[in-house]
Symmetry: C2
Subunit: 344 residues, 2 copies
DNA sequence: GTGAAAGCGCTAACAT
DNA sequence: ATGTTAGCGCTTTCAC
């Protein structure tokens, strides 16, 4: 069933039918009703490609995922984000175009998307400081929204971000309120913007009390179970082990938990773990080790907001940068957690 | 830069340029060279929508993900699969269209994709026995490949599946070779095809030795950390606890590990855990609890094979059902694992 | 308020 | 081996 068939069927021109369907004001209300009813009855769906060719808009949003560094896609956080964004696209009858490309081809892919007008806009994932993709997209004139920020104070583009700095500041403060002083930070690679911000927040919490963390308890690396395990293991085996951990991802937290298990007899119940990134869904507060989920990640929400922001930009044509900073909740498990031995 | 511009520039007709670019045989080699060079130099990219409108092919593959039951997308396995498929699409210059829809709208979505000719084919995720989507897609005439199988012996459609039955048969056999007899099965919901097959394999391993598992040690439920924890916890608290676990997913395995941790002092080093679904990447063999990854999941490979199979079907037009059964590797951790107390 | 006709950028008969 | 022409299914002037 195409437009022509429908118009013939109704004894109207394609033009009128098209106008009726697309809610043009000049159409007679009676006609519109008749047309819409017929379209529904005959299950008419406009061909998006034809429409797109005529209008110049693709009604699709691109997500480009580099695949050689596997972190992005394997990360459950990514899936949640995509799910959130996808819902918004569905509701607004947009398509989501996912491109998995070797990261060396990422720039080419953006150029391609722009040249072929395959998408009306893109979401940028995993920004690094001074990310080259931003200027590329600007020069290509392709609307975009960044999930995260490419560097501090940069206001030249739209982004949606979780308040990473504050999350870790609050996590550290929470632990210090419980009496912990030897708090470890198991962070992601610090050239990633989010990791840098988390570290800043962590340090801030200490400064606020005139304290400073033990540098030996601060590490950054690949967000893998293995790195979490090894880091925590080394720290716990030291002469002055930490009494609490702040961890940058669920996967690393699993490793930290394993290390704590190894050291279990030594530690007793004296170790707290604070995790970022939706850990609550996967690692509920255990009976053996008190785990506090400090920041309930809002990745799913972030996905929705990113998508909505981009659609708004595309619709309005207004590219004035919009910035959304999400506060993540401090969610505490059932147990309020122990104070370290000899704490005040 | 569009075809017309390029043809004007070259002093050729659009037709010739189009033919040269699309490797039609009747074009003069010299001309083709000239055309291709010019296209490259001027960075010409054919508009896929125009092309699609003219050819009737969309050069896109659809993946429909129901979102009200969150399992599908949250599952890291899903992300790996998508990554695998995405690579294949990229290499074959196809787009991947991801639709996140409330599961009640799933059928509507397929009808939509078919009616609007948005995609040349779809991949079906998470099949259940006698899945209604299969007959729907067949009646819509939309090419598809199923990741998994909708029921036993069904050969009327193409699928790519991991040999779930054998994976669990081998896992159980592996543990029995180590001397274990009280082996638990923590399975996914048994109305899912894969879970049923895993159970079958588990049971087979016992029958082969003239044994049968304790029904109290076989459970099935949502693949969550919580379910894994609770199931294992209950079993370990019983009078005759298991000495080994086979677990159907990484997430559940985390819960099982937590339960083992709880029961640690009682158990000593006597518990083995065998996990399906790429557990190796996330849960390396621990120092405290011996964990054996029995089946290295091939989801990523499955994604590639599904995508390739679908592209082949679309290209050749040959819809003769193709079936691919992947054998998953039995990967054993560093430790070969302890025999249970008093084992032979 | 409705219609005729041109055109979006490409491919595919049908010439030559 | 190359060009001419007519679409693909829709929107959008422009005219009535």
């Amino acid at each position: 069933m195409k437009l022509k068939d429908l118009s013939l069927l109704l004894g109207l021109s394609q033009t009128t039918v098209s106008r009726a369907l697309n809610d043009y004001p000049e159409v007679n209300e009676a006609t519109r009703k008749r047309v819409k009813a017929a379209a529904l009855a005959h299950n008419y769906r406009p061909n998006p490609r034809a429409k797109s060719l005529a209008t110049g808009r693709s009604m699709a949003i691109g997500h480009v995922i580099p695949i050689s560094t596997k972190h992005e896609i394997v990360n459950p956080v990514f899936a949640d984000f995509i799910a959130g964004a996808g819902e918004v696209y569905s509701r607004n009858s947009h398509d989501m175009l996912l491109s998995m490309v070797p990261d060396v081809e990422e720039e080419l892919t953006y150029r391609d998307l722009a040249a072929k007008a395959s998408v009306d806009g893109v979401i940028v994932h995993g920004p690094k400081p001074n990310d080259s993709r931003i200027s590329l997209l600007q020069s290509l004139g392709l609307p975009f929204v960044v999930h995260g920020r490419a560097s501090d104070g940069d206001t030249g583009y739209s982004w949606v971000d979780v308040n990473n700095r504050r999350s870790f500041e609050r996590a550290a403060n929470f632990l210090m309120d419980l009496g912990h002083r030897r708090i470890a930070l198991i962070n992601g690679l610090e050239f990633m913007d989010f990791a840098q911000r988390r570290k800043d927040g962590f340090l801030d919490a200490f400064s606020q009390r005139g304290l400073s963390p033990d540098p030996a308890l601060m590490v950054a690396g690949e967000m893998t179970e293995e790195f979490g395990y090894r880091s925590a293991h080394r720290m716990l085996a030291g002469t002055n082990p930490p009494t609490a951990f702040t961890v940058s991802s669920m996967i690393m937290a699993i490793g930290v938990r394993r290390a704590i298990g190894d050291a279990g007899k030594k530690m007793g119940r004296d170790v707290s773990v604070v995790i970022h990134d939706d850990a609550l869904s996967y690692l509920p507060n255990g009976a053996d080790i008190p785990i506090f989920t400090a920041t309930k990640s809002s990745v799913h929400l972030a996905g929705q907001l990113c998508a909505q922001a981009l659609l708004d930009i595309i619709q309005s044509g207004d590219t004035t940068p919009q910035h959304t900073l999400l506060e993540s909740e401090l969610t505490v498990g059932e147990s309020t957690g122990p104070a370290p031995k000899g704490a005040s």
